[in-house]
């Protein structure tokens, strides 16, 4: 019972009353499709952007977008898709280049520079240490444990972990930053020179715009503080909750090696998935736990800018870039890049020049909008923070975390597709991994293991168990769980394995197997074996004398058809008899092949040549 003095909200924030699984399970969004999930509006590190009109509930924004789209497509049938088509002729002349900066909230118990607890929806200003509120005289206290998810994230992104890294102050004034500076790692980040590979299965429909796998370099991964949450009360009042101040973030900066909007969107989605795989982050973009800024530029394909072009960490000859900040969904990433690319191309083709600006994007807009020009560029006056000691990471720590790093989705998919044990399709493998935080995959692997030991002596069936189990776990069992949360005890893996084994041994029909499955799913406590025995479900295949007597009976009944076959040579009518034999027997008892054989014998027809 809740104590009467606690508000519902504060009670809700005590974790023991929340379904932990639900908290962890944030369904990943398929590319370019909108989810009606509620996204709390956040503006971390807005660098003085000021309040924007996109503080409406996300759901309403999406509804407005859908309405607008419908309106447009009614007015101009066929024209609204133009900018989305890859066949845009301007793209043959202009090459797009994109670099991404991802900020992700780390999965830690405490904050970065104070031992206050991290929280998601706690009562405002209840998890604030003195330093978090920049109380004069307070000092930072680096929380070492925050390194664990940070290191895992960097290792999963194939980075080199720096033995020594330091923290710097990035100065700017904004109401969500009490100290007047953000503590980040500008000069010496803790991880450098990583990469992430995008495979065809990371794209919608399994088609990569680059033709095959593409590897994107990662310049660095750094740790930094998050800012406060702002609730806007129009017209100009901000309510501030400092619970989120100093929540640890990692910033992941890619090299400008992305050349297609879909690749950029897939890159963000992939990095988010990798971070979740290693438990470095728990909430994704849709919950506000991850946000992307993109840098967009275009250049003419056949003209080399050489030294006249801009360069970034070794990538040279680039056009002038603009930065689009605060993209809060994968769909927004893709659409904002397309809009900005088109804007820049139009500008350049019209004889203008692209300015180095900071721009913003709202879902449903046609173009990006300017937030800040070069004159308004902020001078952050980076300086090493003298109050914080350098972070020195021992090699044993790095080795241990690398060794115990959870297997990444890519490796799982490779195993499920390439290995003879499983032989799943790429699509099925990707689906299996995404379901139920990996619990479904774990269950599948257990079912396969049990089947393998059941058929260890029978190589032919042994090779088929992976695919069979895949079908049963994803389609049959998956179908039963459609509107319910997954539970591995509903149909224990041993029971499912038993059902599949019986089907593979042809002891029961497929249909009987499905019936058994739903019977167990609905709570029947008997073992599969017991149910089969009780309900007499075993297949009774016909013996040869039984085939013959059934066939003879049928042939007697339909003597006119027999005449057609023998005298008029209409041999295909034998199939009709086969069908009749099957219909008149218990399901699965009659095998079409054997039936046809017997019939042809009786009719004195030559046996059918089996196409081998």
């Amino acid at each position: 019972m809740l104590a009467p003095t606690r508000t519902a909200l504060s009670a809700f924030s005590t974790r023991q009353f929340l379904c932990q699984r639900c908290l962890r399970r944030a369904k990943p969004q398929p590319l370019a499709s909108a989810s009606p999930a509620r996204v709390p509006r956040r503006n971390f590190q807005t660098d003085g952007n000021g309040p924007s009109k996109d503080d409406l509930p996300f759901r309403k924004v999406l509804k407005d977008v859908a309405k607008q789209k419908k309106k447009l497509s009614r007015e101009n049938p066929g024209s609204s898709k133009n900018s989305q088509k890859d066949k845009d002729p301007r793209l043959e002349k202009w090459e797009l280049t994109v670099g991404i900066e991802i900020h992700a909230e780390l999965n830690t118990a405490r904050k970065l520079f104070s031992s206050a607890a991290t929280s998601i929806n706690a009562s405002p200003n209840t998890h604030v240490a003195l330093f978090d509120s920049a109380f004069p005289g307070s000092q930072p206290q680096f929380q070492v444990e925050t390194l664990i998810p940070a290191l895992r994230a960097a290792l999963a992104l194939n980075c080199d972990i720096q033995h020594k890294s330091t923290f710097d102050r990035k100065h700017y004034f904004y109401q969500d930053q009490p100290a007047g500076y953000q503590i980040t790692q500008y000069y010496e980040p803790f991880a450098r020179d990583g990469h992430v590979t995008l495979y065809p299965h990371d794209f919608p429909g399994g088609v990569s715009p680059e033709g095959g796998p593409v590897t994107i370099g990662i310049k660095q991964v750094q740790m930094e503080q998050d800012t406060a949450k702002t609730v806007l009360q129009p017209p100009s009042t901000h309510l501030l909750d400092f619970n989120r101040v100093s929540h640890p973030l990692v910033e992941i900066i890619t090299l400008p090696q992305l050349h297609h909007p879909r690749t950029a969107a897939a890159c963000v989605r992939k990095i988010q998935a990798i971070l979740k795989d290693v438990n470095a982050v728990t909430t994704g973009m849709e919950m506000g736990g991850l946000r992307a800024d993109v840098n967009v530029s275009v250049r003419e394909r056949n003209i080399s800018l050489g030294s006249a072009g801009h360069s970034y960490y070794g990538v040279t000859g680039l056009g002038q870039r603009t930065e689009i900040k605060n993209l809060a969904s994968i769909k927004a990433v893709e659409e904002a890049i397309i809009a900005e690319r088109d804007r820049q191309i139009e500008l350049l083709e019209g004889g203008g020049a692209v300015e180095g600006e900071t721009r913003g994007w709202t879902l449903g807009s046609k173009t990006t909008r300017r937030l800040r020009g070069k004159e308004g560029e902020i001078d952050y006056r980076y300086m090493p923070d003298p109050d914080i000691a350098p972070v020195i990471v021992g090699t044993a720590v790095v080795e241990h975390l690398q060794k115990t790093l959870p297997r990444l989705s890519d490796d799982c998919i490779k195993m499920l597709v390439d290995s003879k044990e499983y032989q799943l399709t790429s699509k099925d493998a990707s689906t299996l991994i995404l379901l139920d935080d990996g619990d479904r995959l774990d269950y599948y692997l257990d079912v396969v293991q049990k089947l393998q030991s059941a058929f260890s002596g029978n190589q032919k069936v042994f090779d088929r168990v992976g695919k069979a189990a895949g079908n049963w776990v994803l389609m049959e069992l998956g179908g039963l769980f459609k509107n319910e949360y997954w539970s591995e005890s509903r149909v224990p893996s041993s029971e499912l394995a038993s059902i599949i084994a019986h089907v593979l041994r042809k002891q029961i029909t497929g249909r009987t197997g499905k019936l058994l499955l739903s019977t167990k799913f609905d709570g029947d406590t008997r073992s599969v074996e017991q149910i089969i025995a009780d309900e007499d479900m075993l297949l009774q295949p016909l013996s040869r004398p039984e085939y013959i007597s059934l066939a003879e009976k049928l042939l007697q009944e339909k003597s006119d058809m027999v005449q057609d076959i023998i005298e008029k040579g209409q041999h295909q009518k034998v199939k009709w008899f086969v069908g009749q034999m099957m219909a008149r027997s218990a399901e699965g008892a009659v095998e079409p092949g054997s039936a046809e054989e017997v019939l042809r014998e009786l009719l004195k027809l030559p046996p059918v040549e089996q196409p081998k």
């Binding site: 974790r15 200003n125 070492v144 100009s236 795989d277």
Partner: protein
């Protein structure tokens, strides 16, 4: 600025004479009063930009501005003098802290340092093992239980209030 040469051998009888006249004064760090300082001229625009960056109030009148510019000029002269020192091969000092090898080893984060945090994780899964951090609430009352909103100039319920000058479009 005057440079003292300590490389000469000093005789005990010359010591008193050597020490009787100063060879260097901190005054050399300040701009000489008789000639223009070597520091570049700072414009009024630059001053205002710097004040804005630091969220400091602008000068109230021309006299105050002149005073600020003079002070800034003197400070820049001092910085210029310090920049004359040859620091090749000297790593910048960021804070007064022990930077010896022994200290570095003490500060290195090891598995021992992270032992407790790692113990709070569980491995889930039989075949597909995944890490899950134990997400039970931590007790942080020792740093969290103080009157957070007590010194707030403006508050509303449990929130701090900040007014923006620009109303929403």
């Amino acid at each position: 600025s005057s440079k003292s040469s300590i490389s000469e051998k000093v005789h005990p009888k010359d010591l008193e004479q050597l020490l009787s006249t100063p060879s260097w004064s901190v005054e050399s760090l300040l701009p000489p009063k008789t000639q223009a300082p070597k520091a570049p001229k700072i414009s009024s625009q630059q001053l205002h930009h710097l004040l804005r960056l630091s969220a400091l109030p602008p000068p109230e009148n021309a006299e105050e501005e002149k005073k600020m510019l003079d002070t800034l000029s003197a400070q820049l002269h001092l910085v210029g003098e310090i920049q004359q020192v040859d620091t090749t091969g000297v790593k910048p000092l960021r804070a007064i802290r022990d930077e010896t090898a022994v200290a570095e080893e003490e500060q290195t984060i090891t598995l021992e340092t992270l032992k407790d945090a790692l113990a709070k994780e569980t491995i889930v899964g039989k075949h597909y093992k995944r890490i899950q951090r134990n997400i039970d609430k931590v007790d942080a009352t020792n740093v969290e239980s103080w009157d957070v909103l007590g010194s707030a100039e403006k508050k509303s319920g449990n929130y701090f209030v900040a007014e923006s000058e620009r109303p929403l479009e």
